[in-house]
Symmetry: C2
Subunit: 475 residues, 2 copies
Amino acid sequence: IAKEVAKLLEMKAQLGEDEGKHKFVLKTPKGTRDYGPKQMAIREKAFNTIISCFKRHGAEVIDTPVFELKETLTGKYGEDSKLIYDLKDQGGELLSLRYDLTVPFARYLAMNKVTNMKRYHVAKVYRRDNPAMTRGRYREFYQCDFDIAGQFDPMIPDAECLKIVHEILSDLQLGDFVIKVNDRRILDGMFAVCGVPDSKFRTICSSVDKLDKVPWEEVRSEMVGEKGLSPEAADRIGEYVQLHGGLDLIERLLQDPKLSQNKLAKEGLGDMKLLFEYLTLFGITGKISFDLSLARGLDYYTGVIFEAVLLHQENEHVEEAVSVGSVAGGGRYDGLVGMFDPKGRKVPCVGVSIGIERIFSILEQKLEASEEKIRTTETQVLVASAQKKLLEERLKLISELWDAGIKAEMLYKKNPKLLNQLQYCEDTGIPLVAIVGEQELKDGVVKLRIVATREEVNVRRESLVEEIRIRTSQC
Amino acid sequence: IAKEVAKLLEMKAQLGEDEGKHKFVLKTPKGTRDYGPKQMAIREKAFNTIISCFKRHGAEVIDTPVFELKETLTGKYGEDSKLIYDLKDQGGELLSLRYDLTVPFARYLAMNKVTNMKRYHVAKVYRRDNPAMTRGRYREFYQCDFDIAGQFDPMIPDAECLKIVHEILSDLQLGDFVIKVNDRRILDGMFAVCGVPDSKFRTICSSVDKLDKVPWEEVRSEMVGEKGLSPEAADRIGEYVQLHGGLDLIERLLQDPKLSQNKLAKEGLGDMKLLFEYLTLFGITGKISFDLSLARGLDYYTGVIFEAVLLHQENEHVEEAVSVGSVAGGGRYDGLVGMFDPKGRKVPCVGVSIGIERIFSILEQKLEASEEKIRTTETQVLVASAQKKLLEERLKLISELWDAGIKAEMLYKKNPKLLNQLQYCEDTGIPLVAIVGEQELKDGVVKLRIVATREEVNVRRESLVEEIRIRTSQC
């Protein structure tokens, strides 16, 4: 029976969503996409901005496999674990695709007994989530992570992570943004003083996490109805989670008769104050909001948590702005590495993850709307001929140029028309054409045409490389 | 029962190969590895060399998902299909990890109705092969592919692919190499004139493919014993496959009374001649060998095939040189895109794949042997302090530097010792230290220390950024 079912399932999958009209379905898997040359050009520009920032802050880079032992991921993601992709058991180890870059980083630290590291990692992660591709939500997507591992004086690395988010979102010019900050200890302290039983901390925390999408009334009824919290406790939480502000709010809560009595909350608020002092020195408090409703879903956070949200699209060209939600997030996870260490040795960590796909959706829409032409190659010169039977001469010349490091192309035709060759340059943005002809060969020169101005100059063959370099260095 | 078995299997997997001593196994999956900062530095240098070459030849770049619909990969790899990683059926589509970048490229072309494209793609592929990690054979490994798709005049794109292999292997300075070239049509023609039945072409072809690893006698006995070929046919093949040479051999075979009568072989030899003419113009025939024993395993090749092999390690420092085998390969596959097109429209393609992991193994061993120190960050300056209570001043200064685009670090301590700060620069190769102290603050200067020379100069705060830029531009 199992075999029969498997067969039927396979047949069904082969028919796919295409109602069986075709022999097979010509598509990428659900929730994934190809990146064509134009999209890659946008993507690489965004990557460069992000990676430059990580390097500016002195980070090293590592890479880990796309899959991990299944058990490596087990028990790290709470309710989200159901979204992990498993590999088929084909004999050997049970494997899963990585769900984020944080757990592999913690595994890397524990496995290599590294207690001190600042690293970035840009790679794809996988989640069997409901895709919403127009809003940049995919099942396969890039994360750009920066983390600082090690025992340090409080809040200095945490402040740097927020500075990094600030720098990257500013550099990418995505419009106005706010970085919400909170602390798991403040949340837990708040739950305690509101009368939430210890055993309900995590589940009430994930209710709070929904406050950016649904109104308080709905969250409250989930807490009371589904999760069995007393209405009084819920109302007390309600008062806190609607608060947001800056140093003033931190000071007020440090005086709060209930919160200030709770050890965890007091610790969290003390560190939050320190964090804001450092952020003031960095000059970025204008875009930071201490927000008691920020909870973040993942299980492994232990201290400061944060999330960056774009406020509105600075995008006059696009009629309907893309709603993207959070574009970066992170926090402190002091216990994760210890979960991997055989002796439970802890390595405190704090890190940030940039959600490049959502950012990319915005950049892509912006570019489409602006009708700006984007080059997808870096070719400097097209090697062309004005007459027939010059294929050999073109091959000789292009080989010289390649060997000299010049980016050069030619049409793969024996006898291409000059017009077609010039048209190719117009289409692809190649700025120069090196034209070989009978007369030029006799004279030991090459005719160099500047596509933009249609100007043509004869250049001695031995000076051609230098001439191309000079003429393209300004572009 | 199924549930019980699953449970037991999971338990077994959790115990892994570690004989159940630990609670869990702290490792990466079999056949995979992490790349630490040093390895990444080597890897990125090699990638840059390769990608620069691809860009020099005017290639665009694309990216595709790491998994494809299972059926997309079905029937493309012949006997190697058993090495494909499947994902677990968790509901929805049946998926497999990509086995190479060629089939996804063909799927991309067909899906987007692209008939003309020169692109590169650098990404990880997956094979459930027997790993041999010291020789650079992994289950997860990078491929660097360059392909030219489109209907063009014969052998011009094919010649460019060989030029690219030549450029990359030269640029990487891996020592002497040879690029073996053959043509599937010559092989098929040869099989036909040797009396191999049509139905046995593919399987005899994969026997021939083993000739780089095992002697002819063994291959012959496989052909005759396992595959049921007549001894006479095998002996006739044996005469051909021991031939290798250049234009002279091509000319000789064009005169061969049997081969020249076979349409396929004649076509293949004619194109091979043309190819060698173009390679002569490129000046690279010195490292090209027309080799009748080259077969290549994959099913989808239809014309020219090639493979680059390192001849010996130019590596005096390493006692036991790494044996790496083929470091690049490729060929023409004119039918693959048509397998995806609903109407079977063909797009001729030719391409090359660089086996970066094997190359990386060599570079890594070379570097280890040379004891050359490799930097893993690009940090230009460490912001340090000579006295206590200057954390705030350090934070202010480093923030100014970051905002000006300077790559800067500081120790995450409130009151670090100057000696420790200087030591950190020695360890990590940071060339400059910007030291803030009480006196310097009063005077409006920063003390800039050049780590290599221990020279110290006072620089006015407003000139610091410029001074750092000048001093690090030479590094």
